[in-house]
């Protein structure tokens, strides 16, 4: 087996293992979705019935809910490893560290994508936004946002998983780094929903792609050090 094929097999095995654990531990995944939906609902109440105001706030609140839910998801995917010493065992397998990172990031991106995909219609219904024509562009924004968030989240969750106060440390360390991604995602969502009159959607999407590539490269390069003592 070539190194690339072996790395791919390892990454897929890790992502599949995480996906099975997520699906079987339904209460954890369900509570994340419920939490994100509650965030949207409460902000909806706070903003009042003004439909224009709701529409303007919707892109930001969508990504706020995705970010909150994503933080829980990233932490949980690494908590699976922390239980029963599995993280140490993972570090001792004779596999390329980048493949481990790729597997964890793949699982994280898939979970984020599901979260974003489910929250989009929730936002559309709660805030009365017509997403019909823009759904494909919005999906692209969610995909790029999910990849970037998972790329950073996997590295930081690997860093904090052995800490006692990991639930506090993960958002504390991660949110400042993820802020440019969230900004670009919000701006791209605004442009997609507004019909892109200023023609800026492409630039924001390019920024998201660049951010994803940089974070994936940095994450893959540093994750191995996080697994070491």
């Amino acid at each position: 087996m070539t190194d690339l094929r072996r790395g791919l097999a390892v990454a897929v095995a890790i992502a599949r293992k995480d996906a099975i654990s997520e699906l079987r531990g339904r209460q954890a995944a369900g509570s994340t979705l419920f939490f994100a939906a509650i965030v949207l609902l409460l902000f909806g109440f706070a903003l009042g019935p003004d439909s224009q105001r709701l529409g303007e706030a919707a892109p930001g609140l969508l990504w706020l809910a995705i970010a909150f839910g994503g933080l829980l998801t990233m932490a949980r995917l690494h908590q699976l490893e922390a239980d029963d010493g599995a993280f140490e065992q993972l570090a001792l397998y004779p596999v390329d560290r980048r493949a481990i990172y790729a597997g964890k990031a793949l699982a994280g991106a898939a979970a984020m994508l599901v979260l974003g995909g489910l929250l989009l219609p929730v936002v559309a219904i709660l805030y009365g936004i017509p997403i019909g024509a823009a759904w494909l562009t919005l999906l692209a924004v969610v995909v790029l946002g999910a990849i970037g968030f998972a790329a950073i989240g996997t590295a930081y969750a690997g860093l904090t998983v052995r800490m006692r106060a990991r639930e506090v440390m993960l958002p504390l360390l991660m949110l400042p780094i993820v802020a440019p991604l969230l900004l670009a995602a919000v701006k791209a969502t605004v442009a997609a929903l507004g019909g892109d009159p200023l023609g800026e959607l492409g630039s924001w999407l390019q920024l998201l792609v660049a951010f994803d590539v940089i974070m994936l490269v940095v994450g893959a390069g540093t994750y191995g050090f996080l697994l070491e003592d």
Binding site: I14, I20, D83, G85, L92, Y93
Partner: protein, 259 residues
């Protein structure tokens, strides 16, 4: 009793065709804060030997095994495994060393078979060739009847058996067993003894940390005793203590030494 196949890493030749020692440590020390769990341990173990690692609680047995497994790095000292510099090239060593720790390291929401298939992939087995290996390992540890159940429902003894099955799907040259008999019933303990015999016969170097001194000594070629992080006694075939380490002569500052 099911047929048990033992898989072993290929042997490495040393310089000029000599066989390098399975384990060679020089002055191995590990500090946790200001206390030393291990202080200047120099030890050589020949390939293919079975070694009982004995000592009271806090003697440094687990710390030594974790350093040998490359799970933690020593604070001082050097280490080679099968002639490979384990501190300089831990990734190469990880293909040859398998560590059975106190923690069973399973994923609770996966079934036993799924856990083992995952481990088989990580140890380099392909999807198709790994399946019979997994099935054989499950049968050997007598979990084949409950392989489809989630590990969350398993007892401590069953979890330990599954951890042993994970070792069976690996291809070790050096096997590090930390309290392998713990949590097991009489049948389980007999199974561990049988597996250790099979690994020994296959030429795997086995180091067993245990409080069951009589039991593991009867399985081993040699005994290494640690006390307070220091090498207290080495006896038997194929194992030698190195010279007294400089750190021991200095009396490295250490809670362990005060005992």
């Amino acid at each position: 009793m099911p047929q048990t196949t033992i898989y072993v890493a290929p042997r490495l030749a040393g310089t000029l065709g000599t066989i390098p020692p399975a384990v060679a440590t020089v002055e191995l020390s590990r500090l946790f804060g200001r206390s030393a769990a291990l202080a200047g341990v120099s030890l050589t173990v020949e390939m293919g030997r079975t070694v009982a690692l004995l000592g009271p609680n806090g003697a440094g047995k687990t710390t030594l095994l974790r350093i040998l497994a490359t799970a933690i790095r020593p604070s001082y000292g050097s280490l080679s495994i099968d002639g490979i510099d384990a501190l300089g090239d831990p990734e190469q060593v990880r293909g040859r060393v398998v560590y059975l720790s106190h923690a069973t390291a399973h994923y609770d929401d996966l079934t036993a078979e799924e856990n083992l298939r995952f481990a088989a992939t990580m140890f380099g087995w392909g999807e198709r060739e790994g399946m019979p290996v997994v099935q054989d390992a499950l049968a050997t540890v007598d979990l084949d009847g409950v392989a489809g159940e989630r590990v969350r429902t398993y007892s401590a003894g069953m979890r330990k058996r599954l951890a042993l099955a994970r070792v069976l799907v690996a291809r070790p040259s050096l096997l590090l067993l930390d309290e392998p008999h713990a949590a097991l019933d009489a049948d389980g303990m007999a199974l561990v003894d049988r597996l250790i015999g099979l690994w020994r016969d296959a030429g795997v170097t086995v180091m067993i940390a245990s409080h069951q001194a009589e039991r593991v000594s009867s399985l081993a070629d040699a005994t290494v005793r640690l006390d307070g992080g220091l090498l207290a006694e080495v006896s038997g075939a194929g194992v030698a203590a190195g010279p007294v380490g400089a750190s021991q002569r200095r009396g490295i500052a250490v809670a362990g030494l005060d005992r």
